[in-house]
């Protein structure tokens, strides 16, 4: 940093790069550069950092199952960060997502094992719903307490975390313990409640009931998309009274095609084989959840209310919005998504398809970093979650191939977050000018008073 700050020749270029990629990308780049310096200083080997980073990239993307495992690791990040972002946009810091993740996992593990008689078309949605509702309630309570008693959600959700951890431990070791297993875990869920892996989709679709379930989901999605399109002015004029018919008809058609064609097609050709052995359909749910959260927050009235309450509760109250209802709703959505993340880990990733002790290692806390890095933008969250998942997954090979400890990843992530939280640091480093108006964003969360 010894060069003259007035004459840095790269400043215009870096400013342009910063504008193009956004501050998060520049922050990340800076974090990786500093990480490399740390590796160099601690190892004293010029090649250590390139070897480590190449190992990281190879482990995250190119090695066998690398990409697949990176995706598996990023799925819970997506759902948890989406949950956090809904809270942030509504002016709430739901620091309790880790606890809601546990409660969701617990509820799903319970709902998944109550019976083995149900078909997947009923049992899987039931288990998913149980997990989401569990998380929603666990987060809704602090939301209600905030409005009724003024208990700040940062405190109450954090405390609820500990209750959730101990409660889960109690239930796993006592009430819901698998008596046939010498490992401390809940009983495995019914095969019908398991979340499908990509590799198993062709086989699963051979059951007509499963194909029907998939067809129903696709029909619903198609209808939703057509409905959204039908609201555009040019389509609206053309369709006129036939709007309902168009929506229903397209949904029905898509469902029918899916029901007939998908089992045949996937049986004939399917790209996901052994190389993706743990990749599961939670990936699709995570992407859909991102679209859903974007839609809810940006395109609907409840989303507008949530954002208004987040931006200025007094104005929202003056406009006749029910603050209590909106705060509880925001917390419930937030917790529901977190609960769903835990559910997916139980039903799709855990090898016993059950809930063992020591289930998560801080997905929830990483996700706070991810949603900040992505500035609460749902599609930014998809990207940032993949980045964190890939780094978490690639770190092992990095350590194996270069001897650099995988904990360097935490350092890089922490630095990236620091730079995103304080963009002035990055601007100072690269001698960039602050873009006009950037500082005027709404606050992410409110202080103790508000």
């Amino acid at each position: 940093m010894s060069e003259n700050r007035k004459t840095n020749p790269f400043a215009p270029f870096l400013s342009a790069l910063g504008r193009a990629l956004g501050m998060p990308a520049l922050a990340l780049l800076t974090a990786f550069i500093i990480g490399a310096i740390v590796i160099l200083l601690t190892s004293g080997d010029l090649l250590a950092a390139p070897t480590a980073y190449w190992g990281l990239i190879r482990g995250a993307l190119f090695k066998q199952r690398g990409l697949s495992e990176s995706l598996v690791a990023s799925i819970p990040y997506v759902l948890l960060s989406l949950g956090l972002s809904v809270g942030f946009k509504s002016g709430l810091f739901n620091i309790g997502v880790e606890g809601q993740f546990y409660i969701g996992a617990l509820c799903a593990a319970w709902a998944g094992q109550i019976t083995t008689g149900l078909p997947a078309i009923i049992h899987l949605p039931l288990a998913l719903l149980a997990g989401a509702i569990g998380g929603a309630i666990w987060a809704g309570v602090p939301g209600y307490l905030k409005m009724r008693t003024g208990a700040h959600e940062v405190i109450s959700t954090m405390m609820m975390n500990y209750v959730a951890f101990r409660l889960t431990e109690y239930v796993i070791t006592d009430k819901l313990r698998d008596v046939n297993s010498t490992t401390i875990q809940t009983p495995s869920v019914s095969p019908a409640a398991e979340l499908w892996t990509f590799a198993a989709i062709p086989q699963r679709l051979q059951d007509p009931l499963n194909a029907l379930g998939v067809a129903l989901v696709l029909a619903l999605l198609t209808a939703l998309v057509v409905r959204a399109l039908a609201d555009r002015p040019d389509w609206k004029a053309k369709l006129g009274a036939r709007r309902g018919l168009a929506i229903g008809g397209s949904g029905l058609l898509a469902g029918l095609i899916a029901f007939v064609a998908l089992p045949l097609l996937t049986n004939a050709w399917w790209p996901f084989t052994d190389a993706y052995d743990r990749l599961h359909t939670g990936l699709i749910m995570a992407v859909l959840a991102a679209v859903g959260v974007w839609w809810l927050m940006e395109k609907t009235t409840p989303g507008f209310e949530l954002r208004t309450v987040g931006a200025n509760p007094n104005a929202a109250r003056y406009a006749g919005m029910n603050i209590t209802r909106n705060v509880v709703l925001a917390m419930a959505i937030s917790g529901g998504l977190a609960g769903l993340a835990g559910t997916i880990e139980v039903l799709g990733v855990s090898i016993c398809r059950c809930l063992p002790l020591f289930f998560s290692s801080g997905y929830g806390f990483d996700s706070i970093a991810i949603s900040l890095l992505a500035r609460n933008d749902p599609f930014g969250i998809l990207a940032a979650s993949f980045l964190f998942g890939a780094m978490r997954n690639g770190a092992d090979l990095m350590e194996l191939s270069s001897g650099v400890s995988k904990y360097i990843i935490s350092l890089i992530q922490a630095l990236a977050l620091l730079f995103v939280a304080a963009p002035a640091i990055v601007r100072w480093m690269y001698r960039m000018k602050a873009p006009a108006g950037e500082e005027k964003q709404a606050p992410l969360t409110r202080g103790w008073g508000g």
Partner: protein, 347 residues
């Protein structure tokens, strides 16, 4: 765009060439996957890694470890080694049983060793069908060696010591979950005490947890109330709670698994010894069979004969243990070794 692709291809070719060079030598690559405790847990994982390191150093092999952050990482971590062409993968702990079995089937050419999980006869295991006559030979685990320990033998020795040291004639154990290794410890312990003094009274409680020191302590206190003056803590942190109860009452305790004098300093002054499972020795001995080519799938039991289990040193208590008690312990050890003494444990 084309240039970028070309560059990528060149880099990949270079990487391939480099990895190919590495594969040419006869240097074996050993990978160890720890449980969530991590490699510095002062217990199993650390001990297993010590065994791997010792063998790797001696035989000139490469050794690496991956720490599991959570149970859902087991498969992924084993896979990291497998896809990097490791020759031997050691997995630590009962919990990794299913993941190890699944990966062992997927990579039949890699040798696997798992600590504390015997796949057979274990019912309701995902490792193989209940119809298999032997999970290893015909159940699909032809490349898996289970490293097991005869806890009843070292429990017996601890019992001899406890029975010899007790003034009240009542000895007790605060045990963790009632799973086979814990039961072996307890049964051996009680029979050992009765071997040195047949009239010894024995107490035991299985607390259904390994992570509940408060309950362990409570159990210990209540046993002290019934006249017990030597407590064997045999159940992770729950057992540690029992040792703490002994410490606070000024009585004697016996540690478990590792030499707890070194790992649990709070109670070291009341520890007579620890009933240790020498995981490092077992792992090292296993790797020696890999080196010599004598490695076999199946259950590989560590016992007093091969030094896989044994009492830890007496440390500070050495001067307080009478010579005749020490003689009795040595006599029991000799008897267990030559088979003239049975621990009384029936599986």
């Amino acid at each position: 765009m084309k240039k970028v692709n070309l560059l990528l291809v060149l880099v990949m070719i270079a990487a391939l060439a480099l990895s190919a060079c590495g594969g040419g030598s006869s240097k074996l690559k050993i990978g160890l996957v720890t449980d969530v405790g991590g490699v510095n847990d002062k217990s199993f994982n650390q001990s297993a890694w010590a065994g791997v390191e010792k063998a790797a150093k001696e035989f000139g092999w490469d050794a690496q470890y991956i720490e599991s952050k959570q149970p859902t990482d087991y498969e992924k971590n084993i896979d990291q080694f497998a896809t990097e062409n490791y020759d031997v993968i050691v997995t630590v702990g009962f919990m990794m049983g299913d993941a190890t079995a699944a990966k062992a089937k997927q990579y039949p050419k890699i040798k696997f060793a798992i600590i504390d999980n015997a796949y057979f006869p274990t019912k309701d295991s995902k490792a193989c069908d209940d119809t298999a006559k032997d999970c290893y030979a015909d159940g699909g685990l032809k490349n898996v060696t289970s490293l097991m320990f005869q806890e009843d033998q070292v429990g017996f020795l601890a019992g001899v010591l406890a029975g010899g040291m007790s003034k009240t004639g009542t000895i007790c154990s605060v045990a963790g979950m009632e799973i086979p290794p814990v039961v072996r410890f307890v049964v051996g312990y009680q029979n050992g005490a009765k071997w040195i003094k047949p009239e010894t009274n024995t107490l035991n409680v299985y607390v259904p947890s390994f992570i509940d020191p408060a309950k362990g302590k409570e159990t210990g206190v209540s046993m002290i109330g019934q006249g017990c003056d030597v407590i064997f803590g045999v159940g992770g942190n729950t057992g540690n709670g029992g040792l703490l109860a002994a410490k606070e009452a000024g009585l004697m305790g016996i540690g478990v698994d590792v030499d707890q004098y070194l790992t649990y300093a709070e109670v070291k002054d009341i520890l007579l010894t620890s009933a240790a499972k020498n995981v490092d020795v077992a792992v090292y001995e296993y790797l020696k069979t890999v080196k010599s080519g004598a490695v076999k799938a199946g259950i590989n039991t560590a016992n007093v004969q091969n030094g896989g289990v044994g009492l830890a040193p007496y440390h500070d208590m050495d001067s307080k243990i009478p010579a005749e008690v020490k003689t009795k312990v040595d006599e029991a050890l000799k008897g267990l070794k030559d088979g003239s003494i049975k621990t009384g444990y029936q599986p």
